[in-house]
Symmetry: C2
Subunit: 276 residues, 2 copies
């Protein structure tokens, strides 16, 4: 097998968001807040062709979009323990990892922000996400203050690191939600962001996420039950957007009796595996 370039991209779970559509995918995107996770997506780009996900077939449209824009043909292997299609940003991670990896393998000569923009555009055009890529490039607990890709996007982070727990009950369809009327979502998401900017802490991010989930009607009944169980056990949890997914601060889910995936805030954004 030919030598490859491997990029490690954190998983990312959104707590709340607002939708901002323009005629240009580079200025289209979301505002909101989310958490980068130490559970990651490893993307290896090699000379060759075809995609694989965890050793099996499968195609992520945004990955093809990135390769088309860079005008290269490559084999892209994606490995992750995160579940697919459940709001952990796997497609955004795959797009961003492909951009960084292919640029290095083929000496395309782009800057990092060029590559983030290109991956964001591919993700928006594929209809699979609006804000994961820019957040995953940055790392940490990300507030997306202005939508889109660099240089339009503006992000800031909350400098807190905490253990997290994940509990996933399956997928929701991102395209279906985003193709519906997003006016109410956007109003609620902007209120949540205002609240978080006044008190930029992880505790407030989770509280704002819970309010957003119930105000918008995105909260699934089975997710609501889990969040209530965590609250009853003295913890703090919120719904991961957009999946039947719960994320809890510290050990809130396991203390409420759930079998969880243990993770933590990943301070570091997308990076080359060799830059350990």
């Amino acid at each position: 097998m030919s030598e490859g370039v491997t990029v490690v991209v954190p998983g990312h779970v959104t707590l709340f968001f607002s939708v901002h559509e323009t005629d240009d995918p580079a200025t289209t995107g979301s505002r909101g807040a989310g958490l980068n996770l130490t559970e990651s997506v490893q993307v290896t780009v090699r000379r060759g062709s075809g995609q694989s996900i965890n050793g099996t077939g499968g195609t992520i449209a945004a990955v093809e979009g990135v390769l088309d824009t860079l005008d290269v043909t490559a084999a892209v292997e994606i490995h992750t323990e995160l579940p697919l299609g459940t709001g952990f940003g796997v497609s955004g991670a795959a797009a961003l990892g492909t951009a960084l990896g292919a640029n290095r393998l083929f000496d395309c000569g782009h800057t990092r922000d060029d590559l983030v923009r290109l991956a964001h555009v591919a993700e928006v055009e594929a209809g699979t996400g609006l804000g994961d890529v820019v957040a995953q490039a940055r790392g940490g607990v990300v507030m997306r203050l202005e939508p889109g890709a660099p240089p339009h996007a503006r992000l800031d982070t909350i400098p807190e690191s905490r253990p997290l727990e994940l509990y996933s009950m399956g997928d929701l369809s991102t395209p279906a939600v985003l193709e519906g009327d997003t006016t109410a979502i956007t109003r609620s998401g902007e209120d949540a962001l205002d609240r978080l900017r006044r008190d930029p802490t992880l505790a407030t991010a989770f509280a704002a996420g819970r309010t957003f989930a119930s105000e918008t009607g995105l909260l699934e009944p089975e997710v609501a039950t889990v969040i209530e169980d965590v609250t009853a056990a003295g913890g703090s949890a919120a719904m991961g957007m957009l999946g039947r997914t719960v994320v809890a601060l510290d050990h809130g889910l396991s203390r409420a009796g759930y079998a969880v995936t243990a993770t933590a805030v990943a301070d570091r954004g997308a990076r080359f595996a060799e830059d350990a």
Copy 2:
């Protein structure tokens, strides 16, 4: 000794720069390019008072500025193997590490960009630097495209990681150079940045740095000799601004016979030590 918060901040060496002064230290700064180094500055903030540098006395003015702005009293211990006052960004690192560390220790509730701005302002007000802090917050090979602190600053990075070597022959006075007429420096620095943006690679960053050093007259004769020796041995080196310092790509200095400090591009910006 009371428990402390330790922040690891990469050393940073500037290859070329332009000076942009305004009435506001948050919009005052430099454009240019520089390298974050795996040789780092470790800043520990504890309850208490007083500064120490490598276990001895010593005071970095920007550290005091940061503590004053945060309105806290703290003991700040700075440890580094980088030489002081020779253009490796130790004062910027100390200011940034103090801001991040004190914010966490005293629960000040600032965002990361708030803390970067506050450290940048303290560094500008102390007259000890114009662009290290924002670069050290970001990590990697940094192009500073717009001067100042967030949200005014704009940065991008070149996604290349390479071994580097350092050779230092002592200090130059940053305040003296920056207090002189910087018109010619700024013209040359902007030309260098335009050149690097057309071809954003490490090789071009070093070439642009060499041109800048000789055009501006900042190139010291003894530094010029070392750079010529590296070139003669087939390598690429440039002057670190502002010190009697040479930085070389890969093993250029040791191949030319110099006893060096081996380092590399640090992909990662300032981080908490516990976020390993």
